[in-house]
């Protein structure tokens, strides 16, 4: 079976959420315990940060992910 090597990156002007799909096992922990319901499962049960603007960067999804498949990074706002 060909392995996916895809890291999906979702970003707005304050947060960057990366999802390593080949490591994710669709356990649903990140989706269930996101305090702001940022994450929504796709048809494989893997998380998609549909409501990324609601993210408060608590990083609980990252800390509770047993597979190191999701990370949350703050994005520094650039001065224009």
């Amino acid at each position: 079976m060909k392995q996916e090597k895809l890291i999906e990156v979702y970003q707005n002007n304050s947060v960057k959420i990366s999802i390593r799909r080949e490591w994710c096992k669709s356990c649903g922990i990140c989706v269930e315990f996101c305090p702001k319901d940022v994450l929504v499962p796709d048809n494989q049960g893997k998380p998609i940060p549909e409501n990324i603007d609601a993210c408060i960067k608590c990083s609980l999804c990252e800390l509770r992910c047993p597979d190191f498949a999701i990370t949350v990074e703050g994005v520094e706002e650039k001065d224009e």
Partner: protein, 275 residues
């Protein structure tokens, strides 16, 4: 997506072999974050494990690692520490590995107070072999060898470790990864025998037999059965039934075994023993 985790794992071994939602991965993350907080040199760290799902952790971390026989991680770790006391030795065990097969080694490592950090991932069942009950399976819960409910009284690993003489004793859960990380960090930093029990989930072996189908259900259950040490102390004996206190229970200073052994070597040399 480079994080601190990537600096300490053998990436070619991932995705890990654990079942979806297994708490072992959450504990692995907590251990790595704690080590990163301490800025330890990873070549000076030895991770030792026995047999069981949790013991696979040593295959995933990029330290010096050793996967030993069932229940015997502590004796191997004791040997490593005695031979080279400068190494930081971490022992990762499951509940069966630590409290059943390795039960004697556990109490005697605590009694000697040898400078090791024991991290016990307590999923309350023998997950790898098909869900047999362990000495930490709560009374009344189901296992493949307890289809009508477990009649055994389970060990309280915290009280056992304190009674046996450990220097540092704490309990965390996979539901509270930040607290678990800080407890592990304190334990690693402590001289002497440190014990951290992390209550973990096994959705496949424990969850299915105890009406918790999903990993999220198991984590919610862990949240429900645990209370902080402070709240626990105010509980009546009835309220304490079926609950676990979490937090730091003991942190005391007592000479560790390697120090005492160094002193014996000096004493012997002063009396004309071999140098």
């Amino acid at each position: 997506m480079k994080t601190v985790i990537n600096n300490y794992i053998r990436e070619e071994m991932f995705p890990n072999m654990w079942c979806p939602g297994c708490g072992n991965g959450i504990v692995l993350g907590a251990i790595i974050r704690a080590i990163d907080d301490l800025s330890w040199d990873k070549d000076k760290i030895v991770a030792v494990s026995g047999i069981g799902c949790s013991s696979r952790i040593t295959g995933y971390v990029d330290f010096c690692t050793m996967n030993t026989t069932h229940g015997r991680a502590l004796p191997f770790a004791t040997g490593i520490k005695m031979a080279n006391p400068d190494l930081k030795v971490i022992v990762v065990m499951g509940d069966g590995d630590c409290s059943a097969i390795g039960g004697n080694h556990f109490i005697h490592a605590a009694r000697r107070n040898i400078d090791l950090t024991a991290i016990i991932i307590n999923n309350m069942i023998y997950g790898m072999t098909g869900g047999q009950y362990s000495p930490l399976t709560p009374t009344g819960k189901y296992g493949s060898t307890a289809p009508y409910g477990n009649i055994d009284q389970s060990f309280d690993l915290v009280e056992l470790a304190i009674a046996a003489g450990a220097s540092y004793v704490a309990r965390g859960t996979v539901y509270n990864p930040r607290q678990s990380t800080s407890l592990i960090k304190n334990a690693l930093d402590k001289k002497g025998f440190s014990v951290v029990e992390i209550i973990s989930d096994c959705p496949v072996s424990y969850g299915k037999m105890n009406k918790m189908k999903s990993p999220a259900d198991m984590l919610k259950w862990i949240k429900d059965i645990t209370v902080s040490k402070k709240v626990w102390e105010g509980f009546s004996p009835d309220e304490k039934k079926g609950k676990y206190a979490i937090g730091e229970f003991l942190s005391k200073d007592r000479p560790d075994y390697t120090e005492l052994y160094e002193e014996i070597i000096k004493k012997a040399q002063e009396r004309g023993g071999n140098k």
